[in-house]
C-alpha cells in the first residue's frame, strides 16, 4: 500500500509536467486549430535558455522568469512569421510545417549546446516527506504547476485580454467585427503556450537530464493526456495529463517492463481515439459539408 501511494504521488509529479505540456497543446489547438508537433522541442529549447542563464550565474528563479519571458516572445514570433502564412492551409501543410519546426529546434539545440547530457539544477531539495510517501521535489513540481494553472485561469476569467482571447479562439469573424485584434490574440496564445511549455521543460529537466531529445517521450505523453482529456478542453488536458502520469508509473512498476512505457502510451492513444474520440471532457465538433 505504501509503495502504491508512493508510485501514485511520483506519477502525479510526472503527470503535472505532462499536464502543462498538454495544456500548451490545447491552447494552440483552440487558438489556431492545429496540432503543434514542435511543442516539446520548443520547450526543450527554452530549457536550454534557462540552463545557460543559470550557468551564467543568475539565481534560479530569476532565470526561470527570464526564460518564460523569452519563450513568450519567441512563441509570438513563431506564430507571426511561420504559422500565420499557413493559417488556413490544409492539415497536411500545417503538420509538415510544425514537424519542420520540430527538426529545426532539435538541430539548433544540438548545434549550439551539443548532444551531451547536461545536469540541470532543481530549485527544490530532494528530501522525503510524509514518511517517504513523496519527495519535496515532487511536491514542488506539483505546486508550480498548480500556481501556473491558477494564474492562467485567473487570466482567462478575469482580464479583458483573456476574454478577448477566448472570443478570438471561439469565433474569429465575430470577434474581429467586435474590434478584437484576432491576429494579435492568436500570437499571444502561441506565446503563452510556449511559456507554459518552458515551465514543463524546466520542471522535468532535473529528472530526465537536459539533451536535445529530452522532450520526445514527454511530448508523446502530453499528446496522450491532451487526447484523453479532449483536445478542446483545457481542464481535460490537465486531468488527462495527470491520469497519464499516474498510469505510466503504475503500469511501469506493476505490469510490464519499463522499456514498453511508450508503447503503452501508443495503445492508450489508439484506444481513446477509437472509443472516445472527443476525450473525457471534449466537445464533438460538427462539420458542415
Amino acid at each position: 500500500m505504501h509503495q502504491l501511494l508512493q508510485q501514485i504521488f511520483s506519477g502525479l509529479a510526472a503527470g503535472a509536467v505532462y499536464a502543462s505540456l498538454a495544456l500548451a497543446l490545447v491552447m494552440i489547438y483552440r487558438a489556431t486549430d492545429l496540432v503543434n508537433f514542435a511543442q516539446g522541442e520548443m520547450a526543450m529549447f527554452s530549457t536550454y535558455i534557462a540552463w545557460t542563464l543559470v550557468n551564467a550565474g543568475l539565481p534560479f528563479w530569476a532565470a526561470f522568469v527570464l526564460t518564460l519571458v523569452a519563450s513568450f516572445l519567441g512563441g509570438m514570433t513563431i506564430e507571426r512569421i511561420i504559422i500565420r502564412p499557413v493559417e488556413n492551409a490544409p492539415v497536411l501543410v500545417t503538420v509538415v510545417v510544425t514537424i519542420g519546426l520540430l527538426l529545426i529546434f532539435n538541430a539548433l539545440a544540438g548545434w549550439i549546446f551539443t548532444y551531451t547530457l547536461q545536469e540541470f539544477p532543481s530549485p527544490f531539495p530532494d528530501r522525503p516527506l510524509f514518511g517517504a510517501l513523496m519527495t519535496t521535489r515532487d511536491l514542488g513540481v506539483i505546486g508550480v504547476t498548480l500556481v501556473m494553472l491558477l494564474l492562467l485561469f485567473a487570466f482567462f476569467r478575469f482580464t479583458a485580454t483573456g476574454l478577448a482571447m477566448r472570443a478570438a479562439a471561439q469565433n474569429p469573424e465575430s470577434a474581429r467585427l467586435c474590434g478584437i485584434p484576432v491576429g494579435r490574440m492568436l500570437a499571444i496564445g502561441w506565446g503563452l503556450a510556449a511559456a507554459i511549455g518552458a515551465t514543463a521543460g524546466i520542471m522535468v529537466a532535473p529528472v530526465l537530464f537536459l539533451d536535445p531529445n529530452m522532450m520526445g517521450g514527454v511530448l508523446l505523453y502530453a499528446f496522450t493526456g491532451a487526447l484523453l482529456g479532449g483536445i478542446t478542453s483545457p481542464v481535460g488536458a490537465v486531468v488527462g495529463g495527470l491520469i497519464v502520469g499516474v498510469t505510466e508509473n503504475l503500469v511501469g512498476t506493476y505490469l510490464i517492463a519499463s522499456q514498453l512505457k511508450l508503447t503503452v502510451a501508443l495503445a492508450l492513444i489508439i484506444l481513446v481515439l477509437v472509443f472516445r474520440p472527443n476525450g473525457l471532457f471534449g466537445t464533438a465538433i460538427v462539420r458542415r459539408v
Partner: protein
C-alpha cells in the same frame, strides 16, 4: 476514326518522324532504363551502393506518397513499417535460411497485413489525429524491437550473411544489388502508376479531396482507405527488406523517429502526390545529409527542417510536381487552341 481527325494526325505523325508520341515516350523510357541499368558499371562500387540506397528510399517514399499524397492520410510512422519489412527479411534469412530474393514477397505481405490492421482504426482518425498516432508508433518502434529480443536480437540487432551475386555473371555484389533494387523500383513504379492512374487512384484522390462527396458517389471510403494503407505499407516494407539485404545488418536504432520524418521530408521535397517525385525524394534523403554532415552533426536535420518549411511556402507541389506543372503550362501554350485539352482526352470513358 472520323475523317475530320485524320489530317491533324498525319501532320503530327510527320512532326514526330513517323512515330506517334506514345511510341516516342516508350523509346525514351526504355533508353532511360537502359542508361540507369548501365550506370553502375561506369561508377565506383561505393557510388553504386549509394545509388542503391537512393532507390530503396525512393520505393519507401513512393509508398508514403500513395497514402499521404494521393489518399490524404498523414503518416509520420512509415519508418515503423520500413523496420517491419527489414526485420521480416532479416529473420527469414537468418533463422530459416530463406534465400534473399524469396523474402521480398513475405516482407510485402507482412507489411500489407500490418498496414491494413493499422488502417482499420485509422479510419476513425482524421488529419492531425492520424499524424499523432503514427508519430507515437514511430517513437515506439525501437522500443518494441528491443523488447522482442528473442526474435529481433535486441539491441545488437541481426548480422546477416552478405549476399553473393549469382556465379557466372561476372559482376560484383554492389552492382548486382543495384540491378536487383532497380528492377524492384521499376516494378513498384509501374504498379503504382497503374493503380493511381485508374479507377482506384481516382477513388483515392476523391476521398482525399472530398470524403463526403466521394461517399455520396458510391465510393466505398473505408475499403479504399484501408487499401491505400495496405498498398503503401507493403511498398515501404519491401523497401525495408531491400535495405536489410543491401546493408546486411538490422538494429533498432536505425529505425528511429527520424527515419520516418526523413520519408516525409523526401515526400514533400519530391512532390507528395507524384510518382516520379519519389526518386527526387530518395536522392534528397541520401545525399543532402552526407553533404550537410561536413558542416555539423546537427546540420542535416536543420536542413531537413528548413527544406520542409520552404517547400510548404514556395513549392507546395514539390520538385516533381512543380516541374510537371511547368511542363503542362508550356505544352498547353504551344498547342493549338483546339488541342489544349488533350490532357483530358485519354481519360474519357
Amino acid at each position: 476514326m472520323s475523317e475530320g481527325l485524320a489530317v491533324p494526325q498525319d501532320a503530327a505523325a510527320a512532326r514526330y518522324g513517323g512515330l506517334d508520341a506514345g511510341a516516342w515516350r516508350w523509346i525514351a523510357a526504355l533508353a532511360l532504363i537502359a542508361l540507369t541499368a548501365a550506370l553502375p558499371f561506369a561508377i565506383s562500387n561505393y557510388h553504386a551502393f549509394e545509388l542503391t540506397l537512393v532507390m530503396i528510399y525512393a520505393i519507401a517514399v513512393l509508398g508514403l506518397n500513395i497514402l499521404t499524397g494521393y489518399n490524404g492520410q498523414i503518416s509520420l510512422g512509415h519508418g515503423g513499417f520500413f523496420a517491419a519489412g527489414a526485420y521480416t527479411a532479416a529473420i527469414l534469412m537468418h533463422r530459416y535460411g530463406v534465400p534473399y530474393w524469396a523474402t521480398l514477397a513475405p516482407a510485402g505481405l507482412v507489411c500489407f497485413a500490418l498496414g491494413v490492421l493499422f488502417g482499420l482504426p485509422a479510419l476513425r482518425f482524421e488529419g492531425p489525429y492520424l499524424a499523432l498516432v503514427t508519430l507515437a508508433m514511430a517513437v515506439a518502434t525501437p522500443q518494441l524491437l528491443k523488447y522482442f529480443d528473442s526474435w529481433t536480437g535486441g539491441q545488437q540487432g541481426i548480422n546477416l550473411v552478405k549476399i553473393q551475386p549469382p556465379p557466372g555473371l561476372g559482376i560484383d555484389r554492389d552492382r548486382w544489388l543495384y540491378l536487383v533494387v532497380l528492377v524492384v523500383l521499376l516494378l513498384a513504379m509501374r504498379v503504382a502508376a497503374n493503380m493511381l492512374n485508374g479507377r482506384t487512384g481516382r477513388a483515392f484522390v476523391a476521398i482525399r479531396d472530398q470524403p463526403i462527396a466521394a461517399a455520396a458517389m458510391g465510393i466505398d471510403v473505408a475499403r479504399y482507405k484501408t487499401l491505400a494503407f495496405g498498398t503503401s505499407t507493403a511498398l515501404t516494407g519491401i523497401a525495408g527488406a531491400l535495405s536489410a539485404m543491401v546493408i546486411s545488418f538490422v538494429a533498432p536504432e536505425s529505425f528511429s523517429l527520424f527515419l520516418s520524418l526523413s520519408f516525409l521530408v523526401g515526400s514533400a521535397v519530391g512532390g507528395i502526390a507524384t510518382i516520379s517525385g519519389a526518386i527526387v525524394g530518395g536522392l534528397f534523403i541520401e545525399f543532402v545529409p552526407n553533404l550537410a554532415n561536413d558542416i555539423s552533426d546537427a546540420a542535416p536535420w536543420a536542413i531537413y527542417g528548413l527544406a520542409m518549411l520552404l517547400l510548404m511556402y514556395a513549392m507546395p507541389r514539390g520538385v516533381a510536381g512543380s516541374v510537371g506543372l511547368l511542363l503542362r503550362r508550356f505544352q498547353s501554350r504551344r498547342a493549338a487552341p483546339g488541342e489544349g485539352d488533350q490532357d483530358h482526352k485519354g481519360r474519357m470513358p
